[in-house]
Symmetry: C2
Subunit: 688 residues, 2 copies
Amino acid sequence: MWQGLMAQTNAPITITQNKVQLTFTIDPAGQPIYTVDFNGKAFITPSRQGFVLATDSLFYKGFALINTEKKSVDETWKPVWGEVSTIRNSYQQLTVHLKQQTSGHLLDIVFRVFDDGVGFRYEFPYQPDLKYFTVTDEHTAFNLAGDATAWWIPGDYDSNEYPYTTSKLSQVNNSSLVQSATDIAVRTAPDPFAVQTPLMLKTEDQLYVNIHEAALRNYPAMQLHVDGNTHQLSARLVPDAVGNKAYLHAPCTTPWRTIIVSDKAADLLASKMILNLNDPPKTTDFSWIQPMKFVGIWWEMQTGKSTWNYADADNRGKDDGLVPNGRHGANTANVKKYIDFAAANGFKGVLVEGWNTGWEDWFGNWKEEVFDFVTPYPDFNVKEIEQYAAAKGVQMIMHNETSGSATNYERQLDTAFRFMRAYDYPAVKTGYVGRIIPRGEHHDGQWMVNHYERVAQKGLQYHIMIDAHEPPRPTGLQRTFPNWMASEAGRGNEYNAFSNGTAPDHETILPFTRLMGGPMDYTPGIFKLKGYAPHVPDRQMHSTLAKQLALYVTIYSPLQMVADLPENYEAHKDAFQFIRDVPVDWDDTRILAAEPGDYITIARKEKGKPNWYIGAITDELPRKAAIPLHFLDKGKKYRATIYADADNADWKQNPEVYHITTTVVDATTILNLQLAAGGGAAIAILPI
Amino acid sequence: MWQGLMAQTNAPITITQNKVQLTFTIDPAGQPIYTVDFNGKAFITPSRQGFVLATDSLFYKGFALINTEKKSVDETWKPVWGEVSTIRNSYQQLTVHLKQQTSGHLLDIVFRVFDDGVGFRYEFPYQPDLKYFTVTDEHTAFNLAGDATAWWIPGDYDSNEYPYTTSKLSQVNNSSLVQSATDIAVRTAPDPFAVQTPLMLKTEDQLYVNIHEAALRNYPAMQLHVDGNTHQLSARLVPDAVGNKAYLHAPCTTPWRTIIVSDKAADLLASKMILNLNDPPKTTDFSWIQPMKFVGIWWEMQTGKSTWNYADADNRGKDDGLVPNGRHGANTANVKKYIDFAAANGFKGVLVEGWNTGWEDWFGNWKEEVFDFVTPYPDFNVKEIEQYAAAKGVQMIMHNETSGSATNYERQLDTAFRFMRAYDYPAVKTGYVGRIIPRGEHHDGQWMVNHYERVAQKGLQYHIMIDAHEPPRPTGLQRTFPNWMASEAGRGNEYNAFSNGTAPDHETILPFTRLMGGPMDYTPGIFKLKGYAPHVPDRQMHSTLAKQLALYVTIYSPLQMVADLPENYEAHKDAFQFIRDVPVDWDDTRILAAEPGDYITIARKEKGKPNWYIGAITDELPRKAAIPLHFLDKGKKYRATIYADADNADWKQNPEVYHITTTVVDATTILNLQLAAGGGAAIAILPI
């Protein structure tokens, strides 16, 4: 009886900002279709949109366009912390109001076109016949115009910690990678042609394209299924325990699907589109949020020098109980050593892992009750450490590893956060190494997405900063939750400690992929680059020492670890000065040079100060970096301290050699530096 | 290399107490096998035991007997509350220590033989090679010697609320029952030949046999798969979200598998075997636990007179918000009416359902965040009600419906229980109507079994009594958690309100099935037996008024509801006197007559007093009950007040007619009463 209202092909509707144009239409089958042009040419060819719902299997076709709305926005806002002090949010918006003709259900799609790309999301308006509903599949596609080069990791439901592969879209197949990635704790990648977002692409037309999402809330993470023949990418949502994707309640919205584009790679790193698509925070008093550098009892466990666990065996059920192994890292005396080190060098925080009971059998058992988050091992004196740290002007950073048992953590969340407040811990590093409980759920599914947000909300309530390890990759939620300062959600430096590590181009890809959504707790700053893992003598970092310094600028995080052991910094006090100096909060950022997989040079201006810091890194190839300093105040003289690879430096053969020089520079200077294979350079520029 | 140790057939080992004998052996395949005799004849023929583990698929055969131990126990203990004041625990115990020859894994089986049956459980001792493990299946069988008559409900993972079917084992098939049971909120019964325990059986040899389990903790509920040809029953464990059954950590034990047997049906109702197989509580101060009768704003919603919800529509996303429907039951004025009624009649508690926000869309949406357990509707004044109740000497009973979202409840458990303490609620009725969250889990699976125990533990911590609706059927845990006083976990009186109800024999079956494991919040005492559901005028109770009185004796619960509306009691003040008088805690209990599906007569002696109360009920047939009072003190005179069906009473045609007589009785008296079809009688006997 609704046939009289069958969808008709509509005239295309376009919105344009600068070089980016979005075209929306409805095809003869009533499917919503969008296209994205850059500079007059479609790099996203007509691509479908829509859903399969549990109660409406055709919620992707048979749509009629009911109405459209357009608006323009141009505004600025100030993040609580970040890479820049002011962010401009300028876009054209198109809202299309659709009605599915068979069911009568309503669906809106909102498009925003920015200078640097397009974001769109689905909105389910209030409607009497569609209140609670279940998303079985999302049909969003991103049809690439050709066979682009892609920097990708497998579409795994439980991990973002793979090394990147650089290949044509047509060559994407993750099977052997997933199978061989035995250094990743939990791997669930049923689709060999699925990849994670942010997916970085370089088209045959030399466009740089990044596909991701913004504001992932109450919805599963989106992965992309790659059709190698057609170069079509299709949204794949991480399923829940029973195979559904999302449980929604109208009125509601999905996350934004984001397509960032430019003919200059640097523009992608400078893009604020994802942040702009997130909501501002609900409150405004964030004086308690303090970006900081921190040290920690951590690398010594990663490298096998000490242990998280207090005893070597779980002897539950035997008489002897916990027998200390004598190698427990988180003991009071050792903690004090790190506090002294932090205090002496001006670092605000000290992280201690392995301080609480349960580490003897924490991993791999899919066990519900692992940690209790408040019971220290007998050699970790909470009160004494609190007092010692306070006397030294240092704050302790809590560590809450959950082993993936999110239900257990949720039950104790208030208890855990009250404990942090009671003992003056301003921040917590959370961890989810292991198969998720509720069993059948995944790290990147809707249930866990909501869990991570609950923890962030709890942090807001208790004034605790969050550094989440093993969450889904960020989607700009740090705007909404400024206390959710950093996440791991990627392959960090630690893989160089406990596995065979990661190729030297890794850090040149991360900013184009993982970092697009938000800060990463990458744990840079390793100075002892060989021979740090006693039991694996030939293990080494895939980096020079100077590159480790540069990472403090090229990998942004407001919580930045100074990851190596104090004694390894003592051995290179001159180089260590850069880590002591480099800030973690910035007024301005300039992407001076960037090519994914090859090199990155970034300059940043310290928050509230005239000082600039530069990081330049290269991949496995030695490279000359010509760094123009045009961003300096005209006519003003500065002293630049340059921490560069020595001439004979090489990540593999000779990683720890560097030279430090100072020179007077101004806005007309171009610094010409030689980066070693796997190397980099760090520069501090202060006004004279 | 272990072939030299291959299992051999062992000589049978027996233990015997009175008429019950247990025989254990290992068959030629190395399978553990047990047999149970009563009076020299095997009613459980040789039946296998063992497991399939995720890491050991043959953990049911290839066993060798390493060692055995025997012991005798004869002790007594006093429950905090109950049907009797002292319980004797007398049994013979056999422990067999087994070793699986291929894996080397150890398994113990502990048997206890009582006067009235056998309990056995598996114990996984401490062993280096089997710490954390996953139970994929349990192979326990109960092979009946013949085609017994069974009183059964479907083996549903999410509900015990079916009406009972009486059939031969060979006729068990639950498909059509499950399909047609649209009055049950969530039904998950994939095996048409599975039944719930407690399973009541009457063998061809006229033995009464009850198969169930005791001390269900950290393990899924056991259901039974019926082989109609062989009359073999096999354990089926309720699966988790990914199809596993239990995650265990040795040393650990399973629940006890229980086989209660007698040639007298009454002995089964008197059995304390299941309680004896549960652990005593860990603490001893339970002075805060107070058995009580309570009234509530509840039946008026069940019958459609008022509503749980404050508004009729969930208008989230619309401007008008919650528009009161004018029929909200839980309003302050109405609550005060119930408080007055409770105070006037000596009832300690007042339950109020629908007091908190969220009822507009609480059901059927598989929604995670339904209720917050602390936010009242605007017409429910928590503080005013607390003060009013306190002034009247009455206590409020909290209601926490979760809609099945256990994760949501667990997150708020401390908040909810603190709220109860703050407003002086000594007890909470919990509810789990709906599909469980964590999604994929079931009411009767291991995860939820642990959830219900967590709530009971939280109650211990906050001194709150628990009345759990929609948990697994009880297994005697009220011994270990005396504050977990009652459960629904069965088909209560409410089905006569919101559905077509339950046949008159239902209450004669319940004590032999559901009640074997513990008290049931059945909500007896409905006086208006027809015309109570305005929108369904021909709906009626399947009971006479006198039978409703008798249920206060025949269905034991230390939290006993006085379920009907105050005005319906006002209409029958003389009969109501029995409900005012009848206790909920007892020194002694005598099962005077019992036949499953036909009739039950029980006498109980009030705790600490010389008063006796008798309940006698029949099924759909009128019946004469000859009730000997031999349990009265010899030579002492008592006045008996008899609440009996009138001569013309009949559950269908004329349910509300009764007569009340008093007579002087002593230990030699035999009362001869006529029970109407669907009727009963209640008697109060007080010393003169």
